[in-house]
Every structure is written in C-alpha cells, then in structure tokens.
Subunit: 210 residues, 2 copies
C-alpha cells in the first residue's frame, strides 16, 4: 500500500477547490500541494499557474468515461454528473450549470449566470436594481421580488420544465439555492466523480482515505 | 388649435427614446428639442442633463393613473402596460421587464438582465462562454444552446408559467425576442401609454399629429 497522501483539485474560474482526506477547502491562488495530486480544470490560465507549482499533478480528463452528445462539456460538469444515474445536477458557482441525467446518460444542460453574476448584471444596469433578492408569494410586486423571479425563479422554472428528479445541488451557492429548490445538497459531488474516475482506472486503492 | 410640435421622450438607462410626429429615434446624449416636450425617466442623471437643455419639459409621472400593488414600479413599465387590458408586456432593453395585466390591472412583473447584460455576464465568467446563443431543438447539447436556454429560454419559461396572453413586445431587443416568442411587436408601446396619459388629462388634442 502506498501511503502518499491523495489530493484532488478542481480548478474553477474563480477558486481552486481542494479535497484532502475528506476535507474540502478553497484556495484563491495556486499553491504547492504535498501529496499525489489529481486534478481537473476549466481555466487554462489557472491550470498553468497550478502546474508550475505542481508539475507531477495528473489531469483526470484523460481518464474519464462519460456518455453524452453535448459538444465540449466542461470537465467539472462531467465529474458532477458522473456518479448520478438519474436526476438534475445543479452546480452553482461563477455560473450556475444545470445538467440532466437519465440511465447514466447525460441528456444535455443549461448555463445560467451565477448568483453573483446576476446581482452584478442587475447593479450594472441601474442602481435601482442593486437590491437583495426576495422570493414572492405569488406575482412579484416589488423590485426585490422581480429580481428573484428573473434570476433564481427562472432557473427553477427551467429545472421544473425538464422535470428530471431527484435534484442534486453542489457548488459555492448550492446551499443557498437549496432554500428554494427541493433537492439534495452534496458538497463533494464533483470530487465523487473524480474518485469514481480513479476507481475505474484502478488508481484509487493505491491511496489511503481517512 | 395649438400648432406647437409635440415631442415625447422616454429617458432610459442607456438611451433617450424620442417620439416626434409618429417617428421614433434614439439619442445617446441629451439634446435640445424644439417643441412641447413631455417625458418620463428612469434615470435621474440623464433626466437632469435633459432638463438642463429642455427646462420646460413636463414629467408625465405626475399625471398618470395606473392600478397596481407593485411598489415603485418603473414609469416606463407603467406606460408600456397602460394601454394593455389583458396580456403579458415584454420591454427588452438594458433589462428585460415582463409585466402581467388582467382587466386593466397590473398583477406584477419580473426583471431579467437584458440580452446584452446576459452576454456580458457570460463573457465575464469565462472566455469559453463568450459565444452566440442558439435555440436548441430539444435538450441543449452545446455551449451556444446551453446559453440560449439559460437566458432567453428561461425568460420564455417564466412567461409561459404565468400564461397571460396575448404577449406584447417592445424595446430595442423586442424584435429579436419576437423570433422566439409568439407575440405582437409594438415599437411605440411606451409612447402609446404616454399619449393615453395626455388624452386622459385633456392635453392631447392641443397638439397636432401627422
């Protein structure tokens, strides 16, 4: 048995998300990590920074098997969906991605602005739209309710339109969205897909997990 | 009969929209207008600039009657809805506003980012999201289709959710959205509301219209 520590890294557009011994944390900047590092990345610039500090890190993109007709599906979305047999997968980060799985096949997906991106877009249009969101009871009858409906409400509308249950949520704003969406929040959903990829390639048992 | 020319001005967050003798045009900057000017405004800074050049212009906000429970509804949205007895009113500008009317009463409304604001939000998140939108046939299976669904598709979803027909479209991107939404494009819908307000206050017949 190899006792070298296993580290999983998900390089996003804003943060480096790190999994280490069952603990998850974020780094704003690339850092040198001590252990056997497997990673995925959706941001080439951040990936280069990371590889300059961790030249032996292995990109899991080369190893993953995933059934989809979607052209150039982001590797983070692949990993988030990989362990889901059926359901809707929401990853709420810089963007909110919503992907649909049935019988282990990826049917397609949607990209919304992230919650922060919605707020910034509204505030940029007008100071009057620089408001907190509030869920309406019925028709939206205030700016706060109108903005909730035009962002979170519209994400929910599309999820309900395709109607594939259960709904899984992950990502930085996953817990926040779970207030409004009947679903299961799984903090490490992307890392579960990465682990599954390691298992499928016979690389998992080589390392210890707490 | 007063032969002074009537001019209507809708001061938005991006442009000055002008109605003059049945012609509509946009100004990027405030200008001195020759005639009897009535206006509405959602942008205080632009309104001040405009009033410094047109000190006799009359704000129609003081004259309009409109039935709604919505707090601080934008005067442009009031004017766009004012002549609609029943239906959904889409004003696609810097923001896309969607308002619901029944029996001449405003039931509520939604604020989405404008089409340009969506594109800018996506491009800001990642260069990979700096793509044209494309309407999917079924599930979105490319970035272009995923972005369409996460913006225009989600606007349509909310319109269909409330389901109040017919649908009227106006604003700079109204014609563009009409490609995807079964509705009636009315270029001068806001100005129709302003004219109706003038009529209700006995100010319309005083001026000539071509």
């Amino acid at each position: 048995m190899n006792n070298e520590k296993l580290i999983l890294v998900d390089i996003g557009n804003t943060n480096f998300h790190i999994w280490e011994n069952g603990y998850i944390y974020d780094l704003k900047q690339a850092d040198k990590l001590e252990g056997r590092v497997f990673y995925i990345s959706v941001n080439e610039k951040k990936e280069k920074e990371f590889l300059s500090l961790n030249p032996d890190a292995v990109n899991l993109k080369e190893y993953v098997k995933f059934d989809t007709d979607y052209k150039k599906l982001g590797i983070d979305r692949i990993m988030a969906c990989k362990t889901v047999e059926i359901g809707t997968v929401i990853d709420a980060g810089s963007a909110v991605t919503v992907d649909f799985m049935k019988k282990g096949k990826h049917l397609g997906g949607i990209i919304f602005p992230g919650i922060f991106a919605y707020k910034k877009a509204f505030a940029t249009i007008s100071d009057k739209l620089n408001k907190d969101f509030r869920k309406p009871d019925d028709f939206p009858i205030s700016t706060e309710e109108a903005l909730w409906s035009g962002s979170i409400g519209s994400i929910i509308c599309m999820i309900e339109k395709y109607g594939i249950k259960p709904v899984y949520l992950t990502g930085g704003d996953g817990k926040y969205l779970n207030q409004f969406i009947d679903g299961i929040y799984i903090e490490d959903l992307v890392f579960k897909g990465m682990k599954q990829t390691l298992i499928e390639n016979g690389k998992w048992r080589m390392y210890n997990e707490k």
